[in-house]
Amino acid sequence: MDSVESAPARAPRYEIRQVFSDGTETDPEIFSVLDPPWEAETDRRGFLRVGLAASAVLALLGACGPSEATRVIASATAELTPSPTAKPKPTPKPTPRPTARPTANASPTRTTRPTPRPTPRRTPKPTARPTTRPTPHPTPRPTAHRTCVCNMVGTCTCNTVCTCNKICTCIPVCQAHRLLDPDPTVRTMAEEIVLVMGAVEMEYLRWAAAAAQPGLRARIESMADGIGDGADPDPVRWPSIGACAARLDDGDPVVAFMAAQMLELHRTWRGAALGRALRARVRTRIAEGQAMRWRAPASAPGRRESAQPRGRPPSGSTSG
């Protein structure tokens, strides 16, 4: 068993350069990735699939008209479905302990401290003591793409295409009505998701406050005031991935949906690598949440399609 690279003699060179061509003329193409490489077969072939022309990828980015984009994306998404002939991969039988654990995010071990941590930001009126350390590399939210209200390419009903290239988490349901939940994890999830939605969803917050009992109404209004004053979400306070995952199957569908949103935030903002099975559960919860159309009314024309919860209402419906 030899070391993979003993006494390297040449410096690595990965800059863009001409690569070998056998003379065959092919169009430039981009290939989709089917599986995480660590889940690919041992010869590491087969995790790439269909090739897309640059124009098709442009459509994916929303650089063409919505209808064309939807068509291309639907096509591309269909292509991403694994082949039925693909060899099934062994799946471990997880038996995770169903406990929720607030977590520390960064290990103090030397080799895990790559960069100076950013100064923890303070959010107004926190109700739970932060149990995590500041993330070493918080990913900024895609603020330029907040107009998106759909997250299921191919089943889009609002005729817009998300250009942020990821599932959005800015869907208000009844998070504000969980701001005084007795479970501090649920409370924190509600606070942070409301902050993530930010001023864009002020109409929702006003609706939520108006529909709430006085104590909760005051809390929602104070959150709205904080957002108006520029309060930002604070990843330091986010419940851990384990704590969120433990609530994905919560009996309260709002809590389950918030857990999915929070996990999506972990993935997209903080770069957390959720496992495949967990990602699938998150997608399912978000899809279920969207199907329920819990969204609050909004004054922005054409923005929201439902004024009241439809389908299965969340528990304690009028108060969220």
Binding site: M1, E15, S21, I30, L48, L61, P94, R101, H137, G275
Partner: protein, 457 residues
């Protein structure tokens, strides 16, 4: 081209195109790579419809026609103004781990006096007040087992919290430990160290007990697992650090499955055993077999909704510093001298001249050796010619200086055995990001880079 773009070969004549500073990646065929190369060389025709689409796509992604890259380039200047101190409390240890980088327990026993700890804390607290920082951090780390100097650990943190509270700021505590702890120590950690702890634990008890033995030669897994269960029961946030020797590589996936099934750590870090300290003559574990086992372990962890980490593979981080060594890490040895690296904990160590850059001065201050400090600050990746063509340079940032020097003291960094592991696992992560982004391309807004080249600036 306005963004630094790399190509990474994949099977079947495919290439991973990666523009780290634009947080963009996709998998392309050779034709696309050659087109991009032609654009970069200024000899791209671009007249056909497909060519125009390609250019437009690259423009959309910020690789062509935009503002030039904003590279990570922070280099601190001026006197260090840390708001975080790491106290290397002792060289004593209740274990004799076979692969201990510090050979703890075999080296002369040193214990940090309380006044050394208090002076360090007072220094970072004064900096925090001057700089308006919201918190100070006090880390307790090795050279030995920090809890072996229990009195100084608890009293110093009480001091930190009281003094910080009086100044209206927070004190965050964190520690690394071998996990062989008494109940009252676990209670104290849970109650006090908000920043979490990292517990060294190698997974399967039979593997752990082979390497992590007590001073009398017995296994320690039972005690460590008891500690971890107590942390779980308390809902306390902790990480697990798992070290893999060459003989243990094949059992890594099973060890990860064991940890995931039994415990709830917030983070699992996996590292091959490094040939340092007691393990300096051992065979390397930086092998292709380790890589395969790590990937399999990652798959296993994913089945539990977890992930595992390797220190130098951190795609998307965008930094020019591997760790705090080049960012004025403020660590105090038991004698009270300032070192930038936890692993360079002894003034008598072979690399002490490289990493020790200060000592206690009169009053509440410290005296810093500007020459040594400058040498450390210039260990940022932009100063390492070897790394300039590597696609992982803004992620790994030149890797661990201590480990590089420990194997090659020539001074000029020329890569290490870890480089291949780092690149392979970074490539996996980039592909994973593409997959997570829908499978076609990864493209996110750039991360705002740290600004200011002066301490406190």
């Amino acid at each position: 081209m306005t963004s630094e773009t790399f190509i990474i070969p994949l099977p079947d004549a495919r290439y991973l195109v990666y523009a780290p500073l634009r947080r963009t990646a996709f998998v392309a065929n050779g034709s696309m790579v050659n087109s991009i190369a032609a654009i970069q060389a200024g000899r791209f025709d671009g007249s056909g419809a497909n060519d125009r689409a390609l250019v437009r796509l690259l423009e959309e992604l910020g690789l062509v026609g935009g503002q030039p890259d904003d590279c990570p380039g922070t280099v601190l200047t001026g006197p260090p103004r840390p708001v975080e101190v790491t106290l290397l409390l002792t060289t004593a240890c209740n274990l004799r781990c076979a692969y201990c980088y510090a050979a703890a327990g075999d080296t002369p026993r040193q214990r940090m006096p309380l006044e050394v700890a208090l002076k360090g804390i007072a220094f970072v607290l004064a900096n925090a007040i001057d700089l308006g920082a919201p918190a100070i951090t006090v880390n307790y780390h090795g050279g030995g087992e920090p809890t072996a100097n229990w009195s100084v650990m608890t009293r110093s943190f009480a001091f930190a919290r009281d003094e910080a509270s009086a100044a209206g700021i927070d004190a965050i505590g964190a520690a690394a430990t071998n996990g062989v702890l008494k109940d009252h120590q676990i209670d104290w950690i849970i109650a006090n160290l908000d920043g979490g702890i990292t517990v060294s634990f190698d997974g399967l008890p039979e593997v752990h007990d082979r390497y992590r033995v007590t001073a009398r030669g017995g296994g320690s897994s039972g005690r460590v697992m008891r500690t971890i269960r107590r942390l779980d029961d308390a809902g306390y946030g902790y990480g697990i650090r798992l070290t893999v020797t060459r003989d243990h590589i094949a059992q890594l996936p099973a060890s990860i499955a064991f940890i995931c099934a039994q415990f709830g750590p917030a983070r699992i870090q996996v590292e091959p055993a490094y040939r340092l300290g007691r393990w300096s003559e051992a065979p390397s574990a930086d092998t292709a077999e380790f890589l395969a086992a790590f990937r399999e372990a990652q798959r296993v962890a994913g089945g539990y909704g977890r992930s595992i980490d390797y220190s130098a593979a951190r795609s998307g981080l965008m930094t020019n510093h591997f760790c705090g060594v080049s960012l004025d890490n403020f660590c105090l040895s038991p004698a009270g001298n300032v070192t930038a690296c936890y692993e360079a904990f002894s003034e008598a160590g072979e690399l002490a001249d490289v990493f020790f850059y200060g000592r206690a001065g009169p009053g509440s201050g410290y005296v810093f050796d500007e020459g040594t400090l400058e040498g450390l600050r210039h260990r940022a990746v932009q100063f390492l010619p070897w790394c300039q063509g590597c696609f992982a340079k803004w992620d790994c940032a030149g890797d661990c200086y201590y480990k590089a020097l420990a194997t090659d003291r020539t001074g000029e960094y020329r890569g290490s055995e870890r480089c291949h592991l780092t690149r392979e696992l970074t490539r996996d992560q980039i592909l994973g990001r593409i997959l997570d982004s829908g499978g076609v391309l990864w493209h996110e807004p750039p991360v705002p880079l740290a600004r200011g080249n002066r301490n406190g600036g």
